[in-house]
């Protein structure tokens, strides 16, 4: 839990010297609490106070990175229980597990399929984030070989799953450079796993088979040994127990600042589900409720798309709606005679209207105004979607050069803008479209004359 301005103020010199740029020490403290200032701006704060403030500003859930480069998975550093309190920051990683006991060509096939999977959503591209390889064979050489094969076929981050330190060591020898996660240290092997995590500088997952007491003991041990990039598996698997335990752990980390559980979680929905369908539902629960790295046993595009979409929903910043880039968008393959419609850059608004135009088979031009991510009526009432803005966008995007007509369809919700728009765009005819995106196909059918 971050300190409040008042709590920070107690550590400051209280001289109101203004050298930090703020009028008073209290004002500076408030800025610090809001992360709008840096403590180094104060030359007079004591070392002791600095230490205390740094300790207090340490994130309650550590940010842990698996993998390297632009595909790395970063999880943790969450600060709230509920997304409306601020936002959830680091989207959980979706990982698919293969086993070294499976035929090599099957493993290769899965890895290639998973690695090549890409899907677009709200103008962004997503995929599966990593591959886990389990030492199911129990044989160290088989594991090392399988890990090497997988690594040669994917650039995704890896999770190495073995409880035998010798098997883990053999696999790390091959792939440690790519910073795979080591899964898992347990009470039986923790000393050796800590050694491996240190030697290869890889994040270490810790699994408890006996609840949070054992888990806290193990993480405390690892942290004291200097291994701080930890990922936690409290050993629960089903719907009810993961919801309860993950909630308790998030509360302990955030509200109690209980450091031994202040790390991201790893979960295995396939182990808590009776079927692949149920696995997908449980993975969805882990996305909404505190999962960090979610290791699944089944890959299917339909499930992956749904989970990626859910993750995007849950991890959207409530204060920053997903926005489209303003511009002139083409629906299907519009001609110069195709309809021209205007809307806002709130992604949901855009996708609703674009989807309806497409579904109704209307090749058309969709002009998207910068309304700072607000929907039609909200933007209108906030003065961000008015005649002036629309006229400027029509001109700025050179809409007149793309179409051979001068007809502009505006959303029915802002029918009141028609008069002003006709003044702002004197040679254009303004058509008032339907209030609901759903009705746009029917509207154009009735009113659009080419």
């Amino acid at each position: 839990m971050a300190l409040t301005g008042i709590q920070i103020y107690k550590f400051l010199p209280k001289t109101n010297c203004k050298e930090c740029g703020q009028p008073t020490c209290l004002a500076f403290a408030m800025k610090l609490a809001a992360s709008q200032a840096d403590l180094s701006a104060c030359k007079y704060v004591s070392d002791e106070a600095k230490k205390a403030l740094e300790a207090a500003s340490k994130p309650p859930i550590r940010l842990v990175t698996v993998g390297t480069g632009d595909k790395k998975i970063e999880v943790g550093n969450e600060t709230v229980m509920f997304r409306h309190e601020k936002t959830f920051f680091h989207r959980p990683g979706l990982v698919i597990r293969v086993k070294d006991s499976a035929p090599a060509d099957k493993v290769s096939h899965t890895v290639e399929e998973v690695s090549n999977y890409k899907v677009d959503r709200v103008g962004l591209t997503f995929g599966i984030d990593g591959i886990a390889i389990q030492n199911d064979s129990g044989n160290a050489a088989t594991f090392a070989k399988c890990v090497e094969t997988v690594a040669s076929k994917t650039s995704l981050p890896l999770v190495l799953m073995a409880t035998d330190p010798a098997a883990m060591s053999g696999a790390l020898d091959k792939v440690a450079k790519s910073k795979p996660a080591i899964y898992a240290a347990t009470k039986d092997n923790i000393d050796k796993m800590i050694e491996l995590a240190k030697k290869y500088a890889c994040p270490l997952a810790i699994r408890s088979s006996d609840g949070l007491n054992e888990l806290a003991e193990l993480t405390d041990k690892a942290a004291k040994a200097g291994v701080e990039d930890l990922i936690l598996d409290p050993g629960v698997r089903g719907f009810g127990d993961t919801l309860v335990t993950f909630t308790q752990m998030r509360r302990l980390a955030l509200n109690k600042r209980f450091e031994p559980v202040g790390y991201p979680l790893i979960s295995f929905p396939g182990e808590g589900a009776a079927s692949p369908d149920e696995e997908a539902i449980l993975a969805g629960q882990h996305i909404a409720k505190y999962g960090g790295i979610i290791v699944m046993d089944h890959f299917s595009p339909a499930t992956a798309y749904a989970l990626v979409t859910l993750r995007l929903n849950v991890y959207t910043d409530p204060q920053k709606p997903i926005q489209m880039k303003p511009g002139l968008y083409q629906i299907l393959e519009p001609k110069a005679t195709s309809p021209l419609c205007v809307t806002t850059n709130f992604s949901l608004t855009y996708f609703s209207i674009a989807g309806e135009l497409e579904a109704a088979g209307w090749a058309s031009w969709l002009l998207v105004c910068d309304t700072e991510g607000l929907s039609v009526l909200t933007a209108w009432s906030a003065g961000k979607f008015d005649a002036d803005k629309i006229a400027k966008t029509v001109k700025g995007q050179n809409a007149a050069e793309k179409v051979s007509h001068k007809n502009l369809v505006i959303p029915g919700g802002v029918a009141v803008l028609r008069g002003e728009l006709e003044e702002a765009l004197p040679d254009w005819k303004i058509m008032v479209g339907p209030r609901e995106a759903m009705a746009v196909g029917g509207f154009l059918k009735e009113h659009w004359k080419t």
């Binding site: 997304r83 719907f239 009810g240 919801l243 509360r251 149920e278 909404a288 989970l307 929903n313 849950v314």
Partner: protein
């Protein structure tokens, strides 16, 4: 290292609202004194219920997957309700689509007939939702309320601009009013105050705080439920009614749930996609505090019921 589990001390509790009763099966919604399924710190006596939404008119534009699942049952609401009961529905939610001026403009007499038929076909609790046009809602729902008197059904929707008539018949016939508000905790509360002010008992209100589908505003649906639930558990007695979510209808409206052509291969198989779209839409709001979800596909009903069962800590 002993870990002390943090317990939240909630002062509020969700109201219990009963549907059905008498010869009809009775269900109890709400009653919990903690967040969904966290029974380690409070009581969570009644698992969320799963209803099936049916309509009084053969649906148009529906996904093949849904049509295939229900077959000819979609042509007759009574047959449909019966089949839904066989598939495990705990509630039937009947939408009077045909009363909409553009969907047939049927009147009070037809609505009464349909409701009578459905009530006779199944012994499950019933929800009846009007076509969503104020005048028509009022006209058909009065008849519905009268004919279902004594069966304690839920009737909707009461909205800020049109609640008096529906609320009045709910009071006189002993039904539950569904209060619908648009994703806003203050408006939800305001509507509950209006309803209780004119005499609807607080334990005869279900809140529909609006929902969104996966990929289409589900995050708003999730957050409004969590906010409402936290406020209720914090002691606000004007938002502590059970929450209903029409997740199925929302999910299956989306292209992602039904399109099989002209879409990227990465979207995967349509049948599987439609189901998971509905299931994640439902699960997310259940975990955020919904006490009743209505769904469209029998397979989702089965899976979401199994999920709730497991969330209640049962094997």
């Amino acid at each position: 290292m002993p870990v002390e589990i943090p317990i939240e001390k909630w002062t509020g509790k969700i109201r219990e609202v009963k549907l059905g009763g008498g010869k009809r099966k009775e269900i109890v919604l709400g009653g919990e004194s903690t967040l969904p399924f966290l029974s380690f710190e409070g009581s969570f006596p009644h698992p969320p219920k799963v209803g099936v939404e049916i309509q009084d008119k053969e649906p148009t534009g529906w996904s093949q997957s849904l049509l295939h699942a229900w077959g000819d049952a979609v042509k007759d609401p009574a047959t449909w309700a019966k089949k839904a009961a066989e598939y495990g529905a705990e509630v039937i939610a009947l939408r009077l689509v045909s009363a909409h001026p553009e969907m047939g403009n049927t009147g009070a007499a037809e609505a009464k007939k349909t409701v009578d038929k459905v009530l006779a076909a199944v012994d499950l609790p019933l929800i009846v939702i009007g076509p969503g046009i104020a005048e028509k809602d009022n006209a058909v729902l009065i008849a519905v309320s009268e004919t279902a008197k004594g069966q304690r059904i839920a009737i909707g929707n009461c909205e800020e601009k049109n609640y008096r008539t529906i609320a009045a018949v709910c009071i006189s016939d002993g039904h539950v009013a569904i209060a619908k508000s648009p994703l806003d905790i203050n408006l939800a509360k305001q509507l509950n105050i209006l309803l209780t002010d004119i005499g609807v008992p607080a334990d005869s209100i279900l809140m529909d705080v609006d929902t969104g589908a996966l990929g289409y505003g589900l995050e708003y649906a999730l957050s409004i439920r969590e906010r409402v639930r936290l406020a209720a558990l914090g002691g606000d007695a004007m938002v502590n009614m059970p929450v209903i979510s029409h997740s199925g209808a929302e999910a299956w409206r989306q292209k992602e749930a039904k399109a099989s052509q002209g879409i990227p291969a990465a979207w995967g198989a349509v049948e599987e996609r439609g189901l998971i779209w509905e299931e994640l839409t439902a699960l997310t709001v259940i975990n955020a505090g919904s006490n009743l979800v209505t769904l469209l596909h029998p397979k989702s009903v089965e899976r979401i019921k199994a999920t709730i069962h497991k969330l209640m800590g049962k094997k």
